[in-house]
Symmetry: C2
Subunit: 571 residues, 2 copies
């Protein structure tokens, strides 16, 4: 049977950085050629990064992307990678509009290009705002084998390009993707890819982006299946990785061009002669998907690291209260950036307990991060006395003095401030705007409180398994949560128990259940009424919250768009 | 010729407030019936408000909207308005998905319903995210006349529903709209409405929403034209208004049902018999469109007033620096809410000039708003000394102490904080996050600095024309702008002259010109380089800025969506 050595480059581009992303393509193509690959596939829009959002509407950006593609073809040739076709996603523009495109670069030239047909426009996706759908499929002939391509959503939707390739005939399908990580998605990808291979009647190679881009994180999870749906290999999640795999292809697919299932299928010839037989490499072992907590932890670490580095920061600063949220954020930051890049400040007020200070200090010692103490009593006193503040106004001033102090240290020393709020707080508005909400990035913004605890326990257990010091003090995990903004305050003064709250939030926010559904599911009607009002009222606070890595379907941010002025109340 | 008395209700609904919006429809329908109208038309999605954004995805909200429509039909009948058909926009859902819909209510029942066909998905619009397009047109027969309907974008796009109604035959077209105000749109609506009337071969009544909804403001500008395109009447902008107009219709349109231009045209009979001849009312005079500055001023006042009131606030607080931005925001707030609802605080630092304090005091005396002085020197000193802050870190602490003070007063007294930043500052990031950017609403967020000055001069001139005290001190208009965060500082230390900066921003942001275009237009290349870098770098600040009324095509906010992590640099 005809052989072919496939290289799939699971890489981490940065949106807009055409020069850096082109370097990435050259570097990984060279590695692929050194490994003897016969073709190399990169993720969707790797040259521009994904999602480019309204950059897609700038004529100058589209022109630069087209230009960068032509230059990349030449550079690949100069770098000794001109002899193998390289599949590269980019932003194109023609007389019908902007295009989510992928090209085949070979011999210093752009030899084929294809535009995405199915444009997702739900959740985080806005592609109908930007792109015009394509209806042409460029199948390239390589060593006598017919190689077809489908871009991301074209794989997820029934019919369309996959059906057309199946009808027209191909020996292999490659699929560049930028498919964000999402918790509890279960393993949707493998069965999907297997089904589409069967529909295309050919092996299918799914290549995904890896890395963080603002609120999105891409987990990689590149997959190759045979025509029968059998898993041939799978890349590890959350790391850049080059899959190199020898395929035995049956070959002999039809070479007919023309219209199939409403698409114009074109046939482009790179090389006709089959490869002489060679000894294949041992098949790379398929990576095991990570456990739920491991997956979330890696997603948060990846999102945080890339946000910090891609925005040109080298270090972060955060307030360490001794509580679970800031402890987990500090541990994430140490895993993402190294202890020497993490600066923590304990900022006790007159209401802070002794254990707040000792637990914060304990965490600093366990992890080796930079630690200092800045009491806020003097700052708070001036505001409270001069303005005559009492009650909630006095509580909030404490959180805001901490926010100012962190921003002062950020401005003075160049650290990015991390906000430590979790999704449960943010959902019900249990946070102080311009106070604990201060920061450039909020690593656990999309993590419900009960999951924050689970992650802390998981991270400590992992450390124990490896014979390392668990980073998070046991007392930070086990004590009752408190904002400590007045004497003896605990979260349950204002909120239901977190088990109950999170369960309700999950059904209301993720599940889109209505008031009556929630009552029917057994939640107490007063609780439902109270929590739903809190969630609806807090929309304005969430709008001004910093970005944070998204791990669920409905994070607060760009994939949940609600009015602030809103007279709608469930129930 | 057959007569018909048309009532067009240019009203101000609130998104989500189904009960309040239903009350509005009943109240204005009753007025229309009292005026002897034979049919009443309300704006697009009046029952839910517009835009509902992701509320459209909540099953419970769609169900409540459908239920509210049925109840509204009954209530109209009970209120004595059951005898005239009332056209009401709402959110519908059927087996094919969510629908941007409008119904005809008559005799206590929903007698016709139609779904929007063209779904806008550019700028502020996201309708392809939410709605399924309709392809059926319900033409109702009223007193023997054929009345067709097109919803908003169906009027703006060539072909489609208007062409279908023209082919099928109608005696009158009504069009419910929610079309946001936009500066420099010139007068696009009247020629468009006139052209569509010609295509439909019938008079056309365009009814628009009025009022503010988060960042959008709707100006009304309801228009009626004859079949020949002649303007019959036009409602005033930015106020609720009932247009009552007698039409002489030729009648005799074809009554054929079936498929026209790809749409299924249905014919529904409310009443066959022509009205007996009656004495028409004198035709209402067409309102003159407002001048440019007047239009912007009214848009900002309307947006501010509705944001405050629809979110349940009664009063606002803002920092008064003596400079032009806070002076204009204070004057807008007084016009929107009345002087007794506006609380201003002068917060001098050690670097504040004498004129800062005297100009702020002067404005307070001119307008009669509440005024107090809170020096910030003691607050600033604690942070600077304890944390060892210098340079930019020290400058920012001053702005942040002011922000905390305003939020303290807001929490203590229940005022909404207004941020006073303008679009030029926000564009280049010349503002302090958690400092002068603090606030629940930013009235001049979309107003370039040069326009802030123009508006101040216009508002003062208006006052003089009316023999009133001009609200804005001349010195606030004429002195060079300064943040006063260090001795002798003026804006031009850090920024180009505002005339030049605004002209460049207008071409870069509104005009989407690229680096090379701007050089070709004659801008200095160092200036272009510097300003474009500032704009690109400030994206993260703009994301955390409060909402503010949008008056241009590309305000910073939901209609300009850019990545924060972004390696793209023009040029």
């Amino acid at each position: 049977m005809p052989q072919l050595r496939l290289a799939l480059a699971q890489v981490n581009p940065c949106v807009g950085d055409l020069a850096g992303n082109a370097d990435l393509v050259v570097e990984w193509s060279r590695k692929a050629v050194e490994a003897g690959a016969h073709l190399v596939v990169f993720p969707e829009m790797v040259l521009t990064g994904y999602p480019v959002e309204d950059l897609a509407l700038r004529e100058s950006f589209a022109a630069a992307s087209r230009q960068a593609l032509v230059e990349l073809a030449r550079r690949l040739d100069d770098a000794g990678a001109g002899g193998v076709p390289v599949f590269v996603g980019y932003l194109d523009r023609d007389e019908r509009g902007m295009r989510n495109a992928a090209a085949v670069l070979h011999g210093g030239e752009v030899v084929a290009r294809q535009f995405k047909h199915h444009l997702p426009n739900y959740g985080v996706f806005d592609e109908r705002r930007y792109f015009t759908p394509g209806d042409t499929l460029d199948v390239v002939r390589l060593h006598g084998l017919e190689i077809g391509m489908v871009i991301c959503e074209d794989l997820w939707q029934d019919g369309g390009p996959i059906a057309a390739l199946g009808a027209a005939g191909v020996d292999l399908v490659v699929s560049p993707n930028a498919s964000p990580y999402e918790r509890n998605k279960d393993d949707l990808r493998l069965p999907l890819v297997a089904r589409r291979a069967a529909e295309a009647k050919a092996p299918l190679a799914y290549v995904n982006t890896v890395g963080g881009q603002d609120e999105l994180v891409f987990d990689g999870d590149t997959i190759v299946v045979g025509a029968d749906g059998e898993l041939l290999t799978r890349a590890p999640q959350f790391v850049e990785h080059l899959v190199v795999l020898d395929l035995d292809l049956p070959g002999g697919a039809s070479r007919e061009a023309g219209e199939f299932e409403g698409f114009e299928v074109r046939r482009l010839v790179i090389s006709e002669d089959p490869l002489p037989a060679y000894d294949p490499l041992p098949a790379p072992q398929a990576a095991e998907p990570l456990s739920d907590e491991a997956e979330v932890w890696h997603a948060l670490v990846t999102g945080l690291r890339d946000y910090v580095h891609k925005n040109g920061f080298r270090s972060v600063v955060l307030g360490l209260s001794g509580g679970i949220d800031s402890a987990v954020v500090a541990a994430l930051a140490v895993d993402a950036l190294g202890a020497d890049s993490v600066h923590c400040v304990s900022m006790p007020s007159v209401y802070s307990s002794d254990h707040s200070k000792s637990d914060a200090h304990d965490l600093a010692q366990r992890t080796g991060l930079h630690y200092s103490v800045q009491p806020i009593a003097d700052m708070v006193k001036v505001f409270v006395d001069q303005l005559g503040l009492t009650g909630l106004a006095e509580e909030n001033v404490q959180a805001r003095c901490r926010g100012i102090a962190l921003m002062g240290l950020s401005n003075q020393h160049g650290h990015l401030v991390l906000a430590t709020g979790n999704k449960s707080e943010l959902a019900v508005g249990y946070s102080t705007i311009y106070g604990d909400a201060v920061g450039g990035f909020a690593p656990i913004k999309d993590v419900l409180k009960t999951l924050v605890w689970d992650l802390a326990r998981w991270r400590n257990a992992q450390a124990e398994k490896l014979g390392e010091q668990p980073p998070i003090p046991e007392n930070s995990i086990s004590k009752p949560p408190s904002a400590e903004l007045r004497p003896g305050q605990v979260d349950t003064d204002s909120l239901p128990d977190y088990d109950l709250l999170d369960s309700l939030l999950d059904d209301y926010v993720e599940g889109d259940k209505g008031y009556h559904d929630l009552i029917e599911m057994g939640f107490d009607h007063e609780l439902v009424d109270r929590v739903l009002r809190m969630v609806d009222k807090a929309e304005y606070k969430r709008r001004q919250y910093p970005p944070g890595t998204k791990i669920t379907l409905k994070a607060f941010g760009r994939d949940r768009r609600l009015p602030i002025t809103n007279g709608w109340r469930e129930g």
